[in-house]
């Protein structure tokens, strides 16, 4: 049996031919926590997730899920997992209800048990009034909620969600987060990947920041922000690139932590207002606008990699 977490990974590598998608990562996931992989597209999150789902073979390294090796115990591990892929992979030949029923049958569950659970899960996913409809006409948010309901049919001990709210409108995202929170309160262990820093902050107890197949840091959202950022950030915008460059050259060497982006300058400070006034309205290169805000995981990622999460 495992000594540590529900999931233990050491020096985990995934290669596709020449391409190294996951380049030696170490982490553990503890029972009942919500664990996140935060990183831009192409960071290796999905490849890592597919190894955790015991569908994609490990190229190198050590991986145990429930203390079992996915290479030899894949079916036994998958029987205790819930998986929501980025592409919902719903069965469009079947109705909403039959998607749950047939998926439950893949797990070898008896029909009567599936029917009981399906009614509850459709309620949970707010899809009860759609139960006998086909899947295709459903909205993106409904499809994602159905994919989540379907993945809960076996009452999984670990629930894996790959980019759960990508492509959803804000309202659908909030409903989804609320549903995930209620699972979290029930004590389900959640593992999610996301390139949305707000999603990671909202949901994750602990996360790893991934870039280019590697983990660049690990901690709770608060710890990561405290470790890499100041409490506040000033976002200043300038009339021209030249003016912004001038301000950057003046601030460099003053010990102030700055990040110069294409469209704005970020200045990290514990007291944003004082920096904001320092940048000064009476200065010849005064910003056209300044905004003082709380530091976020986006800033952590920028500090760690020099890039924003959305670019690429």
């Amino acid at each position: 049996m495992a000594t540590g977490g529900l999931i233990e990974a050491r020096s985990l590598v995934k290669r596709f031919g020449e391409l190294t998608a996951v380049d030696g990562i170490d982490f553990e996931v503890q029972p009942a926590e919500t664990f996140g992989f935060l990183g831009p597209n192409g960071a290796g999150k999905t490849s890592a997730m597919r190894m955790l789902a015991a569908t994609s073979p490990v190229t190198e390294g050590y991986l145990r899920i429930f203390g079992q090796d996915p290479a030899t115990d894949g079916p036994a591990i998958r029987a205790r997992l819930g998986v929501v892929a980025q592409e919902d992979n719903l069965d469009t030949d079947l109705t909403v209800l039959d998607n749950l029923v047939i998926y439950g049958r893949y797990f070898g569950l008896p029909r009567r048990l599936i029917r009981e659970r399906a009614d509850r899960l459709l309620e949970f996913a707010r899809l009860t009034d759609r139960r006998d409809e086909k899947v295709d006409p459903l909205s993106g948010g409904m499809k994602r909620r159905l994919a989540i309901a379907r993945a809960l049919i076996n009452e999984p001990e670990i629930f894996l969600l790959d980019e759960p709210t990508t492509g959803l409108d804000p309202q659908a995202r909030h409903l989804l987060w609320e549903r995930l929170w209620s699972l979290k309160r029930e004590g389900v262990t959640l593992v999610i990947t996301t390139h949305y820093m707000d999603e990671a902050e909202q949901l994750c107890d602990r996360l790893v920041v991934m870039d280019d197949g590697r983990i660049v840091d690990e901690g709770s959202p608060r710890q990561l922000i405290e470790r890499h950022c100041t409490r506040e950030v000033v976002e200043a915008r300038y009339r021209s690139v030249a003016e912004q460059a001038l301000v950057v050259s003046r601030l460099e060497g003053t010990g102030v932590h700055i990040e110069s982006l294409a469209d704005r300058l970020l200045v990290y400070a514990d007291d944003g207002d004082s920096v904001s006034s320092l940048l000064g309205a009476h200065d010849p290169v005064a910003p056209t606008s300044t905004l003082v805000r709380r530091a976020t995981l986006e800033d952590v990622f920028l500090t760690l990699t020099g890039r924003t999460l959305e670019e690429i």
Binding site: N89, L90, D91, I102, R105, G108
Partner: protein, 256 residues
Amino acid sequence: MALPAILRATEREARVWSKLWISSSFSTLIAPVLLLIAMGVGLGSLVETDPAELHGLDYIEFIAPGLLVATAVQAAAGSSLWPVMAGQKWLGFYHAMVTSPLRPGDVFGGQVIWTTLRSTMSAVVFLVAATLLGAVLSAWGVLAVPVAGLTSLAFAAPLTAFAATQDSDAKFDVIIRMAIVPLYLFSGTLFPIEQLPLGLRALAMLFPLWHGVELARAATTGAFSIGDLGHLAVLGVYAAVGWRWGVRTFARRLAS
């Protein structure tokens, strides 16, 4: 008792079919029987031939076992190509199946078993019709049904494996037109293979359909021979090799 994993994948197909069977039953159940009537009774009344060339059979007695197996194979070939592309690519439901305890090999096997079952069901209907038309001479004729099933499997396994290696359906029509249709016509189904030039005869003998037709004819006429064991072996080899190929390609496609 939970269903074996491989049959849980079959159950999905059965579920989908249970909603659509009426619309699909014409092509798989009714059309082959109409063909038998048209060819056997209609055309057969015009066919005047030396009985020796048809192994001493009436025309309808000759073609009934041939069409029984050939129509089963034709249906199996179709269901081994496009539906596999749907599962793997167009609709992607195979990818959801392997997040459950099912393995890629179960998904493959479940699909092939379903295809074989459906072809076998259509063979049952066909055999009943052929019997009513007086085209079945022996009670051993019931064995034509498992023969049709095995021959369908000998096509379904390798074709399903092949379909999973493809990224589009571009080659599927070619396979049907260039392989399945000619085999349907020239595998001893509508006329004895001895009528073919030697080269073509040898070619027909390379593929499983002729072997299935010969076996089915032995069953409906009750005239078995030692060579039938060879036919069985050929069908078994196609099925076994196709099955192994399929388990491997599905693993590569669904668990990479």
